[in-house]
């Protein structure tokens, strides 16, 4: 708590020092990290709700989980990871002062994210056609709440990536101005991070 209070008081007080002697620095804007923490808490609570609801209903969850498309889920994991990787390359390019090259990397990241959306939409269409809805079973409810909540985050992330792409194309980012791109990237990695738990939890664990 003390650290947090310290943070509240002055984001620029008393720089701690990393092992290599340079100052420790939180990438991106402090505000996004509060947002990310709140989001992680919300996702975490849903993951645990799923896990404990499953514990009370193992057979139903195991049976209906079989109907999920694991190939689509794995493909989506790869798309998100790759997208995250491309965004890291974009941040690195910006840090090296190559804002326009960063734009290209971001475009790649955006394409992967859009791929995720397309795959997910195919998955949803198939599910809805099979009569899956929020009220059709406890498992389906969790499957839809968790994946749809995440899906909305991907869409918001794509909007942010589009804004970053636009900024990078105009040469806005560089070693002296990393705040915007680091902030957007941090959010995008968070979207990736929660999927890394969501995928094994909902699609694979039995």
């Amino acid at each position: 708590m003390n650290t947090c209070v310290q943070t509240l008081v002055s984001p620029s007080a008393a720089p701690a020092v990393a092992s290599d002697g340079s100052a420790r620095r939180l990438p991106g804007d402090l505000a996004i990290w509060f947002f990310i923490l709140a989001e992680l808490l919300a996702f975490g609570a849903f993951f645990l709700a799923y896990a404990f609801a499953r514990a009370n209903n193992v057979e139903l969850f195991n049976e209906q989980q079989l109907a999920l498309d694991r190939n689509a889920g794995a493909l989506n994991t790869i798309l998100l990871l790759t997208s995250s990787y491309l965004v890291v390359r974009a941040v690195q390019a910006a840090e090296a002062g190559q804002s326009r090259r960063a734009a290209t990397w971001i475009a790649g990241g955006f394409a992967c994210g859009a791929g995720f959306v397309v795959v997910k939409l195919f998955e949803y269409v198939a599910k809805f056609a099979a009569g899956v809805s929020l009220s059709s079973s406890t498992f389906h409810m969790f499957y839809l709440i968790l994946t749809f909540f995440h899906f909305m985050h991907v869409i918001l992330g794509l909007v942010i990536l589009a804004a970053l792409w636009n900024g990078a194309r105009k040469g806005r980012y560089g070693p002296g101005n990393m705040n915007g791109i680091e902030t957007g990237a941090a959010y995008w990695h968070m979207v990736d991070l929660v999927w890394l738990i969501l995928f094994p939890l909902v699609y694979v664990m039995r």
Partner: protein
């Protein structure tokens, strides 16, 4: 720590977050509305029930009672009073108010006609048949 914290970014996150979660609420409300026919007992929403709801409202019943747990906590829950007491008891009870017992909580007499009494009973019956996820825990409400 030498982090960055700009007002512009805090503002953007506020607008983004607020719009995002409001849209989510709208989407969920949309889904709820389309699923309601299965739980809200609309098949039994007769003219009599609608008149009963109007009586319920214009006598400010919610000022003492709860209905599906919402209202004031001065008098019993009425969402399940129909299965708890039955139509005749409810009508007789309303007609016999106030009891006038010294020191006890009193309910006004609303001088309802026989038709109005039937309507309020119809409304309470309809309410008791709404799917409330098994609430209240028992018949006492």
């Amino acid at each position: 720590m030498s982090g960055t914290f700009t007002k512009a970014m805090a503002r953007n996150i506020f607008y983004g977050g607020a719009v995002f979660f409001f849209l989510l609420l709208v989407a969920l409300s949309f889904d709820t509305m389309s699923g309601l026919p299965k739980s809200d007992n609309r098949a039994n929403l007769t003219e009599s029930v609608l008149r009963g709801k109007h009586i319920w409202e214009t006598r400010n019943c919610i000022g003492c009672h709860t209905l599906l747990g919402e209202g004031a906590y001065f008098a019993p829950e009425l969402g399940n009073v129909y299965p708890r007491r039955g139509a005749e008891f409810i009508k007789a009870w309303i007609k016999s108010q106030p009891t006038g017992t010294p020191g006890r909580r009193q309910m006004p007499n609303f001088n309802l006609t026989e038709q109005e009494l039937d309507d309020i009973v119809a409304f309470l019956k309809y309410t008791s048949e709404i799917n409330t996820q098994k609430w209240p825990p028992n018949i006492e409400g």
